[in-house]
């Protein structure tokens, strides 16, 4: 595994993490978190931790995403959270 590929994965991981935390649209944030989970699982495989990778792939990309989506679909939709209003 070349170090450049790993660096690319790590950089993309940072991009998805920033998207997940900074996106105004909740749905985009949830999907970005899911992509973050997949990339994290790939990185765990590269670092030779298949047990953790399996857990990460299932929990973060399957369960947590679906739980967030259920929570999203059953709450009020404003597009963003109220404490962001002060920043504008």
């Amino acid at each position: 595994m070349s170090i450049t590929f790993f660096a690319f994965l790590a950089a993309f991981l940072i991009v998805t993490a920033l998207t997940a935390s900074e996106a105004r649209d909740m749905l985009s944030a949830v999907i970005a978190l899911s992509v973050f989970g997949i990339l994290m699982a790939i990185i765990f495989v590269i670092l030779q931790a298949p047990d953790v990778a399996l857990t990460q792939a299932i929990i973060n990309s399957g369960l947590v995403t679906s739980l967030f989506l259920v929570a999203y679909s059953q709450t009020r939709k404003r597009g963003d959270d109220p404490d962001r209003e002060n920043d504008r």
């Binding site: 170090i3 399996l54 679906s66 259920v70 929570a71």
Partner: protein, 247 residues
Amino acid sequence: MKSPRNLQRLGALALSLALGWWLWQGVTISPFQGITGPAARYIHGTARDTGAANVVAAILFDYRGFDTLGEASVIYTTVCGVALLFAKRRYRRSSHGLSFIVKRSMALLVPFILLYASSIIVMGHLSPGGGFQGGSVMATVTILFCVIYGSSFEAARVSPKVKETIESSGALLFVLIGLVGLVTGGAFLTNIAAGFPRGTMGQLFSGGTIPLLNIAVGMKVGAGLSTLFYSMVKILEDPTESSPPEV
């Protein structure tokens, strides 16, 4: 730009960069300098102590089995809390699921996903995986049912009581296996020293209590996470709503 919130963000950015640099140093060092410390002891002693081929499973269910019991009870408490929290809520909306094609493809896929989940659980002491991962795959299947067949599909077939029974019996099984060690004069969750057969390393029936504990944790986690999801969805049959179209 001088508000305290932005200062906080700058601090967080600096901390993240420092941590990232530190972790990156860990990646770029030369990989093999020999294994020392506790890792060497576990790698060399696992086959002799437990008979399991997967060192991670051996550590999880033998060397620190009591911690795993603690983690399992954390999940149990979480599921109980969420189920309690959402007990009074009743959402009336019940989706009717996706199209015919998706439903049929899902029906073809489900046995294979369940087989995969069972193999992860049963072969947890041989290959990567274990009760926690396999149980999560099982719970994911029930979530797929909810998404594809509509939310009342699974609740009408597997009652939440059955899931709760499976989860509780998984927890009980774990504790009972642990008590066997106590009865035979060892410590709680003693494995080989309590008389469980070690077997040949790499065989399906090996590793003493580890496969049994895997199955117990799989029951617990699978039923528990499924309950967690369904108590959030919480679709009860609404008599005023039309029944979903037949497939």
